[in-house]
């Protein structure tokens, strides 16, 4: 399986993401600069964390109108897994691939520590390696991770079962403790916490590794035939 990590000016978790796939998962992965990117040959798209374009205007706003996002939208419509973490999540919200927006953290602080996430759905292509209700330790690192949407959108998220991760102890004011959501089709996941920073016990937690393994497992079931 071949993963693309999209690199924007200001991305800073691209190498963590690369490491998680290459060394944690053991699959093929490229760092792909956003300009003149050709994503045709990739089986999964990873939008890493950081501060694309220095967070100018709004977090993720300028990256969301870059040409590479048009390609990602087409891939997403075709069912390719797209994972956006932190700034990657913000970019997915700004493009409209996922509903809602990010506000400044309720207490205005940039926060960087482990949080306990509750796996709300273990039936997505990103979370099949977890149990529903399982609690995992994943670090957060953000100043604008306060997930906001209006009441109608929140109802829709619940009705369509799109809330994948919640915070056990909401650190940032996110509506309904939301830490991660998927699109209706289930192949685009955005989350503020960093699973790519939690792929080996040596680093404090390996709770994020199952996400990457789940994506690989899904891909194998879809495309690899065994005789």
């Amino acid at each position: 399986m071949k993963f693309a990590v999209i690199v924007f000016p200001g991305s800073n978790c691209d190498r963590d993401m690369y490491h998680a796939v290459k060394d944690g998962l053991g699959e093929e992965v490229d760092l792909v600069w956003y300009e003149n990117a050709n994503l045709a040959d990739y089986d999964a798209i990873l939008l890493p964390g950081g501060f694309s374009y220095g967070d100018y205007l709004r977090s993720g706003a300028i990256a969301s109108v870059s040409n590479v996002l048009n390609q990602i939208k087409i891939k997403a419509e075709a069912g390719t897994p797209v994972l956006g973490v932190c700034n990657g999540f913000q970019i997915l919200l700004e493009t409209g691939l996922l509903p809602g927006a990010m506000l400044r953290n309720e207490k205005l602080k940039f926060m960087c520590h482990y949080e306990t996430l509750v796996v709300e759905r273990a039936d997505t292509m990103f979370t099949s390696g977890y149990e529903k209700g399982q609690q995992i330790q994943i670090p957060i690192a953000h100043g604008e991770g306060n997930y906001y949407c209006d009441d109608a959108t929140l109802d829709e998220l619940k009705q369509n079962n799109q809330i994948v991760f919640t915070y056990k102890n909401n650190p940032n004011g996110s509506r309904d403790d939301i830490a991660g959501i998927v699109n209706k089709a289930g192949n685009v996941l955005g989350m503020m916490p960093h699973p790519e920073r939690a792929v080996e016990d040596l680093l404090g937690s390996s709770g994020g590794l199952a996400m990457f393994q789940s994506v690989l497992q899904h891909w194998r079931e879809m495309y690899v035939t065994t005789s």
Binding site: L57, L93, A101, L103, L108, Y148
Partner: protein, 83 residues
């Protein structure tokens, strides 16, 4: 040329943590009467005279400058700006 002055603020009802912090600082510094504070953005754009400002600005705001999920915008136009 025309100068368009665009004001972007969080929608009413959307919590503005930055505005709240500024308000508390104002209240603590001799302005106890401040009842509400909202922090927004101000953007100036210069367009040619023939531009359809209403259409262009609306498209720019919807596509990039404002996020309609949480923000709203308004603008004023100054005509006859020398380029």
């Amino acid at each position: 040329m025309k100068k368009v002055k665009i004001f972007i603020t969080l929608k009413e009802g959307v919590l503005d943590p930055q505005g709240k912090a500024v308000q508390e600082a104002l209240q603590a510094n001799g302005f106890p009467d401040v009842a509400d504070t909202r922090v927004g953005k101000y953007i100036e754009i210069t367009l040619p005279n023939e531009a359809d400002v209403a259409l262009e600005v609306q498209r720019m705001c919807d596509k990039l400058l404002a996020n309609p999920v949480m923000e709203e915008y308004s603008y004023t136009v100054e005509e006859g700006i020398r380029s």
